[in-house]
Symmetry: C2
Subunit: 133 residues, 2 copies
């Protein structure tokens, strides 16, 4: 999708943290729903731009995380935007299925209601079905 | 707005990083526009919940950053949500004016177009007018 030169220009505008990472917010491009936040290193950014499929860096696994490679819940890239100071990305995506490993559409489901911390959305699919556990 | 007990329950669900911070995405509550991403420590989270006005932690200044205290561009809190693993916040807000210090409505204005990195939105107000420079 993106040329090598364009990827190089994009990467040059980023300020990676001490661990070589930037946070990336994933937003469903048409509804505006904020789906999740994860991290990218330079290789993940380059692969995302090159393939048009969102690839993160898994801090827990210490490896590239091609979103959906286990679950099938891939994110097609619509646009990748850099913020004013170059240290955060916003990925507009088309999410297949659900973004959250709990089976919910998005990861942000804990909130205060009547002074109790509750789950404000429920899983749409069984996580076991996503990961074949 | 929020009781001390509720704030304690909320904070207990958060996993702060080694620096005692969590990233917080600010989203305009009615349009879905992702405005910015900044960081909060426990004190900023507690103040945000207590006052209903969003307060971050400025990593550059090493101090609480009551959004809009210099610029007047405050964020009224509508809802504060925690993600599945407790390490990211999503703040639904009502943004007065612009969120970005460049005078743009949101911070995510750099993107690739025809293989060039360009600014896809323009300032709505002069930053000098915001900060009295």
């Amino acid at each position: 999708m993106t040329t090598t030169d364009a990827t190089a220009r994009f990467l040059a505008a980023l300020r990676f943290d001490a661990a070589g990472l930037v946070p990336c917010i994933a937003q469903q491009h048409d509804t505006g729903e904020v789906l999740m936040m994860a991290w990218m290193n330079a290789e993940a950014v380059a692969e995302t731009l090159a393939t048009g499929r969102v690839c993160y860096w898994s801090r827990s696994r210490g490896a590239l995380w091609r979103k959906g490679e286990s679950s099938g819940q891939v994110q097609r890239l619509v646009d990748l935007r850099i913020d004013c100071d170059g240290d955060t990305l916003l990925a507009l995506v088309d999410q297949t299925g659900v973004a959250c490993h709990t089976g919910r559409r998005n990861c942000f489901f804990q909130a205060l209601r009547d002074d109790a911390l509750v789950e404000i959305s429920q899983p749409l699919v069984d996580p076991k079905a996503l990961y074949g556990a």
